[in-house]
């Protein structure tokens, strides 16, 4: 890790000032280098801080100490015009004035990026689609950008990582400080993304998870991506912030269709009605990407598709009762009550049959709901 120079140290110190917001930061750095801005704040002469909101704190904080903290956290500080600051954000209307990153921030250079986003309370279907898209896109040389939240985000990252060392590295933009892993259960995933790709944040080190940091994070995701894919989202939610930010930047938005009954697909189905491009698999995303970038679509690694997946259950032999249960469960998760009603079997027979199917890996029994594996 290189020693941070004065400008970068002051940039880091500016982000960490109490009461600093992305908008204020942009104003303070408008026309000033970080070092100049910092000195002006400490002197109380900065034109964007006539109220001396930051003067007292700027006088006692030592930027080099802040820089030391970033160094020990393994984080780099990125500002426009310096190496590492994502090229996609230069000229962006909401570009953060200062970013920090762990991993390699240059992975986005010379590589198309697709944001795969969606709800935290995803269904099995959504998780599977996100994971497939993540793996397929990474395998095709596209950097998968997401937010490291639970649900769709985590599945997209995990899928991208599953493409292996040959795939494009994953990129995450998080809302918290880079030293605050949230949610905790994604700690391992976070480390892997940081290890093979990059994790960006515009928040100061130590910034906890607050409701307002996530919409701000979503605009950066939209800014970094060439195409945004929404896998599953509810009628209201953070993913729609990303969609809105993408629309403002004329970044194409694609949506994965879902069952019309599924609450987790209400938002995505709505997007499709509104005219977003439907996406079924990686192929569809790559078409959208090629259109977005105005380049022919096959330049990417040719064998990106790992091989067709067969529909389990159609290939194997099922007896009459097993077939009835299989049909009754259908393609969406179904509760036991519904399966009982559809099959008219006794609970004992049904439970026994479902167990036999589960043992053959055809059925997944969840919390009162069954679905095809």
């Amino acid at each position: 890790m290189t020693v941070l120079d004065d400008d970068l140290a002051c940039a880091a110190a500016l982000v960490g000032l109490g009461g600093m917001t992305p908008v204020r930061l942009v104003r303070i750095l408008d026309g000033f280098g970080p070092l100049v801005a910092w000195r002006a704040l400490a002197a109380g002469t900065h034109p964007a801080d006539r109220a001396h909101r930051f003067t007292a704190e700027a006088r006692v904080v030592d930027p080099s100490e802040v820089a030391d903290r970033y160094r020990s956290a393994g984080a780099r500080v990125l500002i426009p015009g310096r190496p590492g600051y994502p090229a996609a954000l230069v000229g962006d209307p909401g570009a953060p004035a200062v970013l920090s990153a762990t991993g390699d921030p240059t992975v986005l250079d010379a590589r198309p990026a697709v944001a795969v986003v969606g709800t935290r309370s995803a269904t099995r279907y959504g998780v599977r689609v996100a994971s497939d898209l993540g793996r397929g896109l990474a395998g095709a040389g596209v950097a998968v950008v997401s937010g490291l939240a639970s649900g769709i985000d985590a599945a997209a990252h995990a899928g991208a990582l599953a493409a292996g060392p040959g795939g494009a590295p994953p990129v995450a933009v998080v809302g918290t400080g880079l030293d605050v892993v949230y949610p905790r259960e994604n700690a391992a995933l976070w480390a892997q993304v940081s290890g093979s790709g990059a994790v960006f944040s515009e928040a100061a080190l130590g910034t906890p998870a607050r409701p307002r940091v996530f919409p701000a994070r979503n605009r950066i995701i939209a800014g970094l991506a060439d195409v945004v894919v929404v896998v599953e989202c509810h009628g209201r939610g953070g993913s729609l912030h990303t969609v809105e930010a993408a629309a403002r930047r004329s970044v194409p938005v694609c949506a994965v269709p879902g069952a019309v009954h599924s609450p987790a697909s209400r938002g995505t189905n709505g997007l499709l009605v509104d005219g977003c491009t439907p996406v079924r698999d990686v192929d569809d995303v790559l078409v959208a990407l090629a259109l977005a970038r105005g380049t022919p679509r096959v330049p990417l690694v040719p064998d990106w598709r790992a091989g067709p997946e067969s529909d389990a259950g159609t290939a194997v032999e099922l007896d009459r009762v097993e077939r009835a249960v299989w049909d009754a469960v259908g393609s969406e998760p179904t509760n036991i009550e519904t399966v009982l009603l559809r099959t008219n079997l006794s609970l004992a027979t049904l439970a026994g049959t479902a167990d036999a199917l589960a043992q053959r890996g055809l059925l997944v029994a969840g919390a009162g709901w069954w679905s095809r594996a």
Binding site: T119, E337, L341, S346, L347, A348, A354, D355, A367
Partner: protein
């Protein structure tokens, strides 16, 4: 002169015989009551005197001392009014000793000399079974359920007139109680109760209730508001068999002692259903209180169903107090003034939402954070959750799936199946399969090879603990009994038991992933 009149007071769900000794002597006129009376008994001085004056009975203008023996135990209730009044009459010479010999008295006096009923007459009559018990007219039918000699009168004057032989004791007519010609114990017929046929769909829940009623397995229903959890729970008592004579008597005694509304003309033959609100205190749940160990909800649910709606909203102390009755079938209440034991063997039915927003468990529907869900589920302690053999997901019925389906089976049909399967459990020497000892499982619930393979797989995958294994085996035994299977428990029975048992994920409202 001294009179000694037998009576009785309530102590928990038991009657305690008491002798009311009255001494009338020369001296300054006065009226004292000794022998640890409580406030109600001390106030009886004023009621007794007023009753005498207003009915024209002579009040001795002498010194009256009343002692309640044994004097070491606390006595409460207004039922001692009548024996005190009779004691004063005898001690002052208005009535003779002989006229009250062989009689015991229980009743509250009104200021006009009328006799009023008291709670727990059935229990008190049991405690005074070897004497002819004189009670208020309204208490006559209930007192005669105890089986001893019983007499009733509407007022103090009538008691005096009948004791002294000026008027005869009328026979107590108990409607439906056996002495009016109709068969005894004709209780509300099952059809009058909430019927299972009212429940649309809910095939899984119906089956779970049937299994619970057969095997005595406690049930926890998890589901969103409005799914029909309460509707289902109220249908459970209907499919339980009539109480056996001994339990019927015990239940009647408990309800009598607690003074809850009920038919007083017959013993309670149907299993009771208690659904206390979650605001109740630990004392209201297990019993106790200053008024002499009144039975709590667990006692009142003995032989029947205790339904706790919004289980997560009950205070932890109240829920933890359930552990002893669930374990031993009785609840022991100890206070500084003594302890008492109340039977409390009931079927526990809990209901709760899966998560704070109530929609958890439907894939993709719940927006609660995992932490909020975990916090919600943590309100129930592990040991309590452990008691629920059946954890059941109850969702709102899907109208589209119900189209073209008739009403489900009625309570009568299911009750008959339950009664038949319960007979098989009785042949094993237990009331229900939930009470089977671990050591007897291999004898009474042997597994066929596929069934034991299924259980072993569950154990290995960590889906089942050693203790859970026994519970599943008992549950599977009940399922096999209902299916009319032989002595061997088959794989399908075990699979159903595992499905009914549910999982922790189900409780947390987690989804299939």
């Amino acid at each position: 002169m001294i009179a000694s009149i037998p009576s009785a007071v309530l102590s928990g769900v038991d009657g305690r015989p008491v002798r009311v000794e009255v001494h009338v002597a020369n001296g300054l006129p006065g009226f004292t009551v000794v022998g640890l009376p409580d406030a109600a008994v001390r106030e009886s001085r004023d009621r007794v005197r007023a009753a005498f004056v207003s009915t024209g009975l002579p009040w001795p203008r002498r010194r009256i001392t009343v002692n309640l023996a044994p004097s070491g135990v606390r006595k409460g209730g207004a039922g001692l009014d009548l024996p005190i009044a009779i004691g004063v009459l005898v001690a002052s010479g208005t009535m003779t000793q002989e006229s009250v010999a062989g009689h015991a008295f229980v009743g509250e006096l009104g200021l006009d000399g009328s006799l009023r009923g008291v709670p727990g007459v059935l229990v008190l009559a049991d405690a005074l079974a070897d004497l002819a018990l004189v009670v208020a007219e309204v208490d006559g039918p209930e007192a005669s359920l105890a089986g001893g000699t019983c007499r009733s009168a509407p007022s103090l004057v009538d008691v005096v007139a009948r004791c002294t032989g000026r008027r005869p004791w009328p026979a107590i007519v108990v409607p439906g109680g056996g002495n009016d010609g109709s068969p005894p114990g004709a209780d509300a017929p099952v059809a009058d109760l909430a019927d299972l046929a009212d429940v649309r769909g809910q095939v899984m829940a119906r089956r779970a209730l049937e299994v619970a009623a057969t095997g005595g397995h406690h049930v926890l229903m998890v589901g969103p508001p409005g799914a029909g959890k309460t509707l289902l729970a109220t249908r459970l008592p209907g499919i339980l068999a009539d109480l056996d004579p001994e339990t019927s008597r015990t239940v009647s005694r408990i309800h009598s002692a607690a003074g809850v509304a009920r038919s007083t003309t017959t013993l309670i033959r149907r299993p009771p259903f208690r659904a206390p609100h979650h605001g109740l205190s630990a004392v209201a749940m297990i019993g106790g209180g200053s008024g002499g160990h009144r039975p709590g909800e667990v006692g009142l649910a003995h032989g029947g169903v205790l339904f706790l709606d919004e289980l997560g909203e009950f205070p932890t102390a109240v829920l933890d107090a359930l552990r002893q009755p669930l374990e031993e079938g009785v609840v022991r209440i100890s206070r500084s003034q003594g302890s008492s034991t109340c039977p409390a063997r009931f079927l526990l039915v809990g209901a709760m939402n899966p998560c704070p927003c109530g929609t958890g468990g439907v894939p993709g529907a719940c927006r609660c954070s995992p932490a909020a869900r975990a916090r919600y589920a943590r309100r129930l302690s592990g040991p309590l959750l452990d008691r629920f053999d059946i954890t059941l997901r109850v969702d709102r019925p899907d109208g589209a799936e119900l189209v073209g389906r008739g009403a489900g089976e009625s309570t009568a049909v299911v009750a008959a199946r339950v009664a038949e399967a319960r007979e098989r459990a009785r042949a094993r020497g237990v009331r229900a399969n939930a009470e089977l000892e671990v050591s007897s499982l291999d004898r009474f619930a042997p597994l066929d090879p596929r069934a034991s393979a299924l259980l072993e797989r569950q154990l290995r995958s960590g889906g089942l603990s050693a203790r859970g294994l026994h519970r599943v085996r008992r549950l599977a035994r009940t399922v096999a009994d209902l299916e009319g299977a032989g002595s061997i428990v088959e794989a399908d029975h075990v699979a159903e038991a595992l499905t009914l048992r549910g999982s922790r994920a189900l409780l947390l409202g987690e989804e299939v992933r």
